[in-house]
């Protein structure tokens, strides 16, 4: 900042000590300031994170009073989540339709068999799309009407919600054993949201189911 020196009684400077007043420059050397500004700019650009955490909302069933009967489910599919083998970190997912009947059940029904699937597009996604077709078709029809401006958006939202919550709409139960990891659950719920399944719950796995699962999956 030598340029802003106005020369007021600076007796020590031999060279500047002239009779004639030096014409002061109005320009300030801004380089250090700019350096600092850019340094700060770089720092903030690199350290700032914009993405706020995203969340997935989920409701858990309220505790039933001990006298209450478990609700009857009409159109159900149950997913069983686990990990294959003892050492490998392969995710395992099995499913069955309808109610569960263990081996030698008193109703005389054949024992439920589990079908293996996976988290890919051809696996879980396809199973859900097939099973949930009536709801998805109905939702698409609604969307069509909404796009043609036949229904208002509030009506559309309400109808879509009603469609997903219909009595005979697909209900999905997710059961995980003690090997399953949290990621599997989130992936499964995410897939349900993508496939427009409105009714799902995470429930505990029964002992009979666990036994069959352990027998089916890879050792």
């Amino acid at each position: 900042m030598a340029e802003v020196n106005t020369g007021d009684g600076g007796g020590g400077h031999g060279k500047h000590d002239k009779k004639r007043a030096k014409k002061a420059s109005t320009r300030i050397d801004m380089t250090p300031m700019v350096d600092l500004a850019f340094l700060l700019l770089t720092f903030f650009v690199l350290t700032s994170t914009f993405n706020k955490a995203k969340t997935m909302e989920i409701n858990f069933p309220a505790k039933l009073p001990p006298t209450a009967k478990p609700p009857r489910i009409n159109n159900a599919i149950t997913f069983l989540l686990t990990r294959e083998g003892a050492e490998t970190k392969e995710n395992g997912i099995y499913y069955y339709y309808g109610e569960f009947y263990g081996p030698n059940n008193k109703d005389g029904k054949p024992a439920t068999t589990f079908t293996k699937t996976d988290f890919s597009k051809e696996g879980l996604h396809k199973v859900l799309l097939d099973r949930n077709k009536p709801t998805i078709d109905a939702l698409n029809a609604l969307e069509e009407r909404y796009k043609k401006k036949e229904i208002a958006d509030t009506t559309y939202k309400r109808l879509a919600l009603a469609e997903k919550g219909k009595k005979d709409a697909l209900t999905v139960l997710i059961k995980a054993d003690d090997k399953a990891v949290y990621k599997n659950i989130v992936d499964a719920i995410d897939e349900l949201n993508i496939c427009n399944v409105g009714k799902y719950a995470i429930v505990d796995m029964g002992q009979a189911e666990l036994d069959i699962l352990n027998a089916v999956k890879k050792k």
Partner: protein, 219 residues
């Protein structure tokens, strides 16, 4: 032929617009940047397609891949009050200074008996501590108490704000406390289930599961 006179160019160019811009950006980034306090545990949350943002008013329970639980409320005032209540419940006296320090802290995963010592540590030292996690078994359900008191204090604060706003003739928009669970993708499902059970025991059935936004479209 007259000689072409090259205009003598000034080697120093006018940097003012650039500096203006630089400072504008610096100001922008400084104001938008939020201070990120280092968490005692790093959690790699699973990804989902959900695009909902996390509400501001949350009680957050973090579960890491070893199944330890960490507790956090982001509202400093509520934090202080919650600590006070917890101190009363568990017969631990916290000084005003400790409460203030606690208000500025982030999530923690120590039992209340060790909390006093934990608060009094300096920041770098605190990060080195191996947190055992907030106890949540049925005998020492500290996590449940933390949630309960946090909820009560948050409601109390909201009530106070509402009264104040009504006195001033303004309308107050009440945002209920939400409950978020941030778990590591590799966390065992059972550990997460335990945490969810603590919530459902307190009649809280709706959660926000924190996820990352999935890269690429799965639809």
């Amino acid at each position: 032929m007259p000689k072409i006179k090259m205009p003598k160019s000034n080697p120093s160019l006018d940097m003012t617009p650039m500096v203006d811009l630089a400072f504008l950006l610096v100001t922008f980034f400084m104001l938008t940047a939020s201070v990120r306090v280092s968490e005692p545990v790093v959690v790699d949350s699973p990804s989902s397609t959900s695009e909902k943002l996390l509400p501001d008013n949350v009680i957050l329970v973090t579960v890491d891949n070893k199944g330890r639980a960490f507790y956090n409320i982001n509202n400093g005032e509520v934090r202080m009050k919650t600590l006070e209540q917890m101190g009363k419940q568990y017969k631990v006296d916290f000084t005003e200074k400790e409460k203030k320090r606690f208000a500025g802290m982030t999530s923690f995963g120590v039992p209340i008996a060790q909390l006093k010592q934990y608060i009094n540590m300096e920041d770098p030292e605190r990060l080195k501590v191996k947190s055992p996690g907030v106890p949540l078994d049925s005998l020492h359900n500290e996590l449940g108490d933390w949630i309960q008191f946090g909820r009560i204090e948050a409601a109390r604060q909201a009530k106070a704000q509402k009264d104040k706003a009504e006195k001033a003739g303004r309308t107050f928009k009440y945002e209920p406390m939400r409950f978020a669970i941030k778990a590591d993708g590799e966390a065992n499902y059972i550990a997460v289930k335990e945490v969810i059970k603590v919530f459902t025991d307190k009649d809280i059935y709706r959660f926000n599961l924190i996820t990352n936004l999935e890269q690429g479209d799965k639809k």
